[in-house]
C-alpha cells in the first residue's frame, strides 16, 4: 500500500519523517540495514530521487550512514536516536498544547486532564 502524503508539503520531508519514525520506534533498529532506495520508493510509491533526498537528509543528521558497497544503515549511536526521539516527542507535545489552548485549556489543565484520563483507564 502506498504511503499517504500531505500534498502541500515537500514529499521528501514527509518521507524523512516517516523513516525517522521507524528509526526512533525501533522498527529499524540501531545498526540495521535499511531497504534499498528502490525498495523504499516502491513501498511508498514515490519517485526514487525524492526518496534519495530524504535519506541524504537523514545522513546529514547522522541518523543514517552509507557504506559504499553494502547500502545504508541506521546509526549505532543510541544517544543520537534518543535525541531525535525526544525532539519528535517535544514537537507532538507542542502541537497538542496548541490545540488544547485553542479549546481553552492551559498547559497545567491539559496535564491534569492527561493524568485523569490515564487513571481512568
Amino acid at each position: 500500500m502506498a504511503w499517504q502524503f500531505d500534498t502541500d508539503r515537500p514529499i521528501y520531508k514527509q518521507l524523512k519523517e516517516r523513516i525517522l519514525l521507524k528509526i526512533v520506534s525501533g522498527e529499524y533498529g540501531a545498526g540495521t540495514q535499511l531497504p534499498t532506495v528502490r525498495e523504499l520508493a516502491e513501498q511508498a510509491a514515490v519517485n526514487p530521487n525524492t526518496l534519495q533526498k530524504a535519506l541524504t537528509d537523514l545522513e546529514r543528521d547522522g541518523l543514517v550512514y552509507a557504506l559504499r558497497t553494502s547500502g545504508r544503515f541506521v546509526t549505532e549511536d543510541k544517544a543520537l536516536v534518543r535525541k531525535a526521539k525526544d525532539t519528535l516527542a517535544a514537537e507532538v507535545i507542542d502541537q497538542f498544547l496548541d490545540q488544547m489552548e485553542a479549546i481553552g485549556y492551559t498547559a497545567d489543565e491539559a496535564a491534569a486532564l492527561i493524568q485523569h484520563t490515564k487513571e481512568r483507564k
Partner: protein, 234 residues
Amino acid sequence: MSILTCSNLTKRFGSTTALDGISFSIEPGRVVGLLGPNGSGKTTFIKLCNGLLTPTDGTVKIDSMSPGVETKKIVSYLPENSYFNDWMKVQDMLAFFSDFYSDFDAARAVEMLRSLGIAPSAQIKSLSKGTKEKVQLILVMARKAKLYLLDEPIGGVDPAVRDYILHTIIKNYNPEASVIISTHLIADVEPVLDEVIFLKNGQIVLHEDVDTLREEKNMSVDQLFREEFKCLEN
C-alpha cells in the same frame, strides 16, 4: 548531459500557434510532468520530439540528435491513440516490438501482462479500451529506452490500473533514463514527479522542481495548477 534539449521550439498550424518558442532541457534520471489544459501544446511537443511533426522554427534535440531513425532507437513513445490492428493478437504485438526495437525486453512484457491478467493469445479486437491502453503501456515500458514519452498514459484507465502504471514507472526507474508524462490528472502523478512544466497557450509558464514548489508556495502542484489555469468567472 541533457537527454532532451529544445530551443525556441515553435510549431504553427496555419494561423494557429501551437507551440510558441519554448526552450528547456531535461537531464537524465528525471521524471517530468508536462502539464497544461487541453490545447496548450502538450501533444504537439511530444509529436515534435518523435519526428511526427517538424518544427516551424527552433530545434529539438534528443541525446544531441534531431528526431529520426537514431532517436527512435532510444525513445519509447506512448501515443495518445491506439495504433493496434484489431486482427492482431497481443502476442503478435510482442513479436512486432521484438522485431522493431533491440531494447525490447519481451520476457518483462510477458511478466507484466501476466500480472495484469492479460492473455498473450487474446485478440486485440476482444480487449476493452482500458485493457488496450494497458497493453500499449506495457509494450512501451518494457523497452530499455533513454527517454520515455508518455502522452496521457492514465487518462482512460481505472484508479487501480493508474496505480499500477505509476508503480511501473517507479519500478522501472533508471538513473540514465528520463520519463516525460503529459497529463491533466495531476494529483495522481504528483508523487512520482521530479519536476513539472506548465504549458499555457504554447508557452512555458513554469518549469520547476516539485518539492521546491511545495516548499515555496505551500501548495500541491495540483492546487498550483488550478490557481494558474483558473477559468475566468463571469
